[in-house]
Symmetry: C2
Subunit: 231 residues, 2 copies
């Protein structure tokens, strides 16, 4: 069995965002595939103060990992239950964990997702936008013309298909992105900005582009993990 184990999205008590059941699963595991070993160890200690980290085997899987080398290295682990832990939130969504899940399916090993916080899903819930059809589009392109073209395409799809469109940006470029959105999108287009979800800084507001224009610069989301949604 391979367990997909969510973590917190920032500074929050575990009881606020994780079911008690997850701690029991974590306690039973000895093998982990993690996006970042240091943060995964800290999370495991937080869940279970008595856990003996030295008894555990960690494999790191992030954007720098050679997946074939990792799968060779993991050979013995597949005989055991394995936990997958992301840097923040739900593993195998917006991180490379899906590669391990795909391998589990090829080996006909059961995959068990656990419940935890997902800024992608929680931002759809809290946006007030159509939740019967929505898309998460990951990061915007970096090059300026590509970005503008992409934003216009997302706005068009949100209108034409009535499908909520969400996307993210590297946090230090958030403030600049809101300004770009205000320049690029139609004044009547609805934009939800959902920042620092589940933490004390949580900020979730839905307004028209015309209204957001009056609130620039939106410094409060500077360097904070944020999701943008067009509805």
């Amino acid at each position: 069995m391979i367990y997909l184990i969510p973590t917190t999205l920032g500074d929050t008590s575990l009881d606020n965002v994780l079911p008690r059941y997850n701690a029991g699963v974590i306690h039973s595991l000895r093998y982990f595939v993690v996006e970042n070993i240091r943060t995964a160890r800290r999370f495991l200690k937080q869940v279970d103060r008595d856990i003996v980290i030295d008894d555990l085997t960690f494999y790191e899987l992030n954007q720098h990992t050679d997946i074939n080398a990792l799968l060779t290295q993991m050979k013995e682990a597949w005989a055991h239950d394995i936990g997958v832990i992301s840097e923040a939130g739900c593993p195998a969504v917006a991180d490379p964990g899906a590669l391990i899940v795909a391998e589990a399916h090829r080996r006909h090993i059961k995959v068990k997702p656990l419940v935890g916080p997902s800024s992608i899903l929680m931002s759809v819930m809290a946006s007030g936008f159509n939740g019967q059809s929505f898309a998460f589009n990951g990061y915007l392109p970096i090059e300026k013309n590509d970005r503008v073209a992409r934003l216009k395409a997302l706005e068009h799809r949100a209108n034409a298909e009535h499908q909520t469109q969400s996307f993210i940006e590297t946090p230090y470029r958030n403030v600049q992105l809101v300004e770009e959105l205000c320049r690029t999108l139609q004044p009547k287009t609805m934009l939800c900005i959902a920042s620092s979800i589940t933490t004390d800084d949580e900020f979730i507001e839905t307004r028209t582009i015309a209204e957001w224009r009056k609130l620039l610069p939106l410094n409060r989301i500077n360097k904070k993990p944020t999701i943008f949604l067009i509805g």
Copy 2:
């Protein structure tokens, strides 16, 4: 403040899928907008055996509700904190709850999503498909030619944009839908079938269409809540 309160996805212990924090929020609320009053009451009693249902005010919001009549009826409620509860899983996703959330934003009332199980998100996690770009498309069209055209369009978008495409069907038509998928999609296309997530019946498998063809009819998902994903 308006709290978006997830419920279970079927027969599961609350501790398996809900953080402890949610019970405290529920305990503090007197006003609820719910998709179904009977199931919401049962859920609240399960969370808190000492809750006095008669002290609570319920407003029903489902596909039969006249939203304008509801908003008039709710006038006094907006002065208080309100909880929104769906029939199953996360409110305001794949249910009409988003209408209330949109109204809260218009009134500049803070919207607070709580953590809970979402079959839409958990199926993406467990599929092994791209989680950096994915779309939930709701129900398929009912008319046969429209369905085939829609499935081919979703398969095309999954390939062309490398965007995972998920959709649902009325549970009693699940077995028939798997047969349609096997007839309509390319043999090499990857399909994940995720059924009864978080319950004892949980079934999540990813295979090629060619492999699924050998497993027909897939009676085990008959009448079970199921998400289908093309990756």
